[in-house]
């Protein structure tokens, strides 16, 4: 019910249908990772913005884990405005579905992506084209939709 009240932009404009390239430090190693470098690893990438202080992210974590078994999909996490110790504890407690975990400390990169906050998810292909944008936690309908797209 609450979800209906959230304003979500329409993606009719061609310019907004592509995710901009970004480079962020990795959570564990602090190495800079650029999206365009890792995007070619798999056919599809799921970019998920999360935080340890975000309650819906805990439930979403299970959904992401179920998606991480798909062979043509990699999950790139963006850790939004979080403490390193808390985010590592979160991943230890709830499991780590992410192939890469990038850190967005001040939240500016999320704004650059056109995101509102946590949780938020983009399904993109190799060309960074946004196939699905999910504002708020992923539900079963979204999972079905994602699986349909990936399986063609």
């Amino acid at each position: 019910m609450i979800k209906d009240k959230i304003y979500s932009p329409e993606f009719k404009n061609e310019k907004t249908t592509y995710l901009p390239d970004f480079s962020l430090p990795e959570l564990y190693s602090s190495d800079e990772i650029r999206l365009s470098e890792v995007i070619s690893n798999k056919e599809f990438s799921l970019v998920n913005i999360w935080a340890s202080w975000c309650v819906p992210c805990r439930e979403e974590n299970d959904v992401l884990k179920s998606l991480s078994s798909l062979s043509s999909l990699q999950i790139i996490g963006i850790n939004y405005k979080d403490r390193k110790t808390n985010s590592i504890k979160f991943l230890n407690d709830y499991g780590n579905p992410f192939n890469y975990n990038l850190v967005d400390n001040d939240g500016t990169e999320s704004i650059n992506l056109g995101a509102y906050g946590v949780p938020e998810t983009f399904l993109i292909n190799k060309n960074k084209k946004i196939l699905i944008k999910i504002i708020g936690p992923i539900n079963n309908d979204h999972v079905k939709n994602i699986r349909e797209i990936i399986n063609g």
């Binding site: 304003y7 932009p9 405005k81 001040d106 939240g107 704004i111 650059n112 056109g114 509102y116 906050g117």
Partner: protein, 130 residues
Amino acid sequence: MVKKKFIIFLFLFINFFGNCFSQTEPYSKLENDIAKNLRCLICQGQSIYDSNSEFALSMRIYIKDQIDNGYSESQIYNMLVKKYGQWIVYDPGYSKKTFLLWFIPILFFILGGAIIYLKIYKSKKYEKFF
């Protein structure tokens, strides 16, 4: 004596908070002006300037970064409209979608003027008639 102490205390108190406030203003005038013209999308109804949400705080850093990168005020608005849509700016630009928004007030103004004019004109005619 008590009165004197009280006055000294009051002055210290006021100055203390005055100093605190002047030191905690981290944003330039341009940054504040841009923040006032942007809607906070998490807490709708508030501007980025008024809001303290995580989104608004990140947005303020984003604005600062873009100014440092050499972008102008209107370029920053354009960038954000591309990402979030017209809704983010309080002053929507003139486009096909916002055509009615700009046109209707002018239309009502002309229509209202026409009604008033016709009424006065008619009533004058009425007077003449008698």
